[in-house]
């Protein structure tokens, strides 16, 4: 078992139809690797009652149908997998390049993010494209990747009142996190650009271009290239 402290991993019943496995607190790559390991095991050795897996930064929520597997038996199943995490070998991550147009017409909060951090817009773009981001997990809405780590000099507060609709492809910053609205949805993060790449398509298998554990690199493109 891969221990990350005396209290972890910890299995806690979240509801009468779900269990949570916590690997630690906060955001770290160590917790992330354990999340990926458990997720892989849950897929390799499925329980017939499993309904959904919700991986996140340092935890995996597993929902199940208690009429198919008794909750006590389901907990035992999860416990057994958690005990065998070290059996899972993690493969080398894929690196995916995502073109982003950081034009003010598409990134309506570019100026705010620049001003908030005492930078020029060019600086914001340069810093945002300067690192490789890890896809910690896909969550919130279809195909939305939670990416880390955002250069600390780009951190920006969320909107106090979320926008009712953020266009698909919007690249955004929320606090010290960055992500992409793969489909149009409500959202409270600061929008700094947009990608023409279609990141979510329900007719494909898998429907999401990005998967947990991928590495992402942003490449700035001109408005003319975006419009093509």
């Amino acid at each position: 078992m891969l221990s990350t402290g005396p209290l972890f991993p910890r299995i806690q019943q979240a509801s009468d139809h779900s269990f949570m496995v916590f690997f630690g607190e906060g955001i770290s790559r160590l917790h992330h690797r354990n999340v990926v390991r458990l997720f892989r095991l849950l897929r390799l050795q499925p329980n017939r009652a499993t309904r959904n897996l919700h991986p996140a930064y340092s935890s995996v929520l597993i929902s199940f149908n208690p009429l198919l597997t008794h909750p006590n038996d389901f907990r035992a199943y999860v416990h057994e997998l958690v005990e065998r995490l070290d059996m899972v070998e993690l493969s080398a991550p894929r690196v995916i390049e995502i073109p982003v147009c950081y034009d003010r017409s598409l990134g309506q909060d570019l100026e705010f993010v620049a001003h908030h951090n005492g930078l020029t817009i060019e600086d914001v773009v340069r810093y945002h494209c300067s690192v490789e981001y890890l896809v910690y997990f896909i969550g919130f809405s279809p195909g939305f990747p939670y990416l880390g780590e955002l250069p600390s000099n780009l951190a920006s507060p969320r909107l106090s009142s979320p926008r009712l609709s953020v266009p698909a492809g919007s690249v955004a910053i929320g606090g010290s996190q960055t992500g992409i609205y793969s489909v149009s949805s409500p959202g409270g993060w600061r929008i700094i650009g947009r990608t023409p790449m279609k990141l979510f398509n329900p007719d494909l298998d898998p429907p999401s271009v990005l998967e947990m554990g991928d590495l992402v690199r942003f490449r700035p493109i001109a408005l003319t290239e975006y419009q093509q």
């Binding site: 806690q12 019943q13 979240a14 509801s15 009468d16 139809h17 779900s18 949570m20 607190e25 906060g26 955001i27 997720f39 499993t50 309904r51 959904n52 897996l53 919700h54 991986p55 996140a56 930064y57 340092s58 935890s59 995996v60 929520l61 929902s63 208690p66 009429l67 008794h70 909750p71 997990f137 896909i138 969550g139 919130f140 809405s141 279809p142 195909g143 939305f144 939670y146 793969s182 489909v183 149009s184 949805s185 979510f200 329900p202 007719d203 898998p206 429907p207 999401s208 947990m212």
Partner: protein, 320 residues
Amino acid sequence: MARICSLSVISPGFLSTVQDFGRFHCAHWGISPAGAADPVALRLGNSLLGNPPGAPAIEMTLTGGSFRFDSDLSIALAGSDFGPTLDSTVIPIWQTIFVKSGQVLRCGPTKSGARCYLCVDGGINVSPILSSSSTHVLNSLGGIGGRPLIAGDVLGCAPHHILPHGNLLTVKESALRPLYRCGAFRITPGLQSDLFSLDTRALLSSSPYIVKEESNRMGLRLSGPSLGSGIIKEMTTEGVSLGAVQVPPDGQPIVLFVEHPTTGGYPKIANVALADIHRLGQCRPRDTIRFQFVTHEEAFFLLTKQERLLAPDQCLLSTP
């Protein structure tokens, strides 16, 4: 040989969507299940027609729509009473109805809860997306083009029965009464229950909460005594469950419903028991609801008890 039948939407009412039991195994792509807000009504409606329990049906919300049948067909209305008529004749809910080609079903404003299902022999036929026909309204996924029904939509179905005849079934009153009991919603402790004081937890289980107008298939927003005092801890985003009672900084709880985001960062004080989820689907704006804490074991017992009630030989009555 399979017959292909259809029905046309004359008017959709307030919000009508195609729903089944939901889209599972997709949460790791950020997709929540959607599915019927009252899965018990969907199941009963389908059982009146001999359909699989989760066969796709039309979920109507608060005010129902009007539909013209383009073929002879068996149908059933299940859930709340939307005052349905067939060619101006009042028809009952919770019962198999045989309709003739050309007849028009009209539903109006609800006389009881929030949702009524129009089930048809064989189920509504739409192309499944990720193994489900459910419409996820917020994510524009599934159903007809990922959207609610509009006037002019034509929905197909493939009835099991060559001619619309067979058993005329009704759901027993003695089954409906316990399934749609009026009491408190049973809740189990949430993942962050310990962040809330005993007094706060007692407040949740002793106070009435009003369902706000902004409530929808994503969540029921409640208004009542604040549960927020003293919750300042920032949480790392984590997975969330159907029925989770989460408490944002303003202290007004939100019950996550069928179209909930797959992850969230608000602490969860409780989770509605699976056996009461279908009753959440019947809550209307301005309804007053109450909560009652039970253990996980009690919640499981309630679910198995409900499952026994839903067995066709327990809940259906055959009328000659």
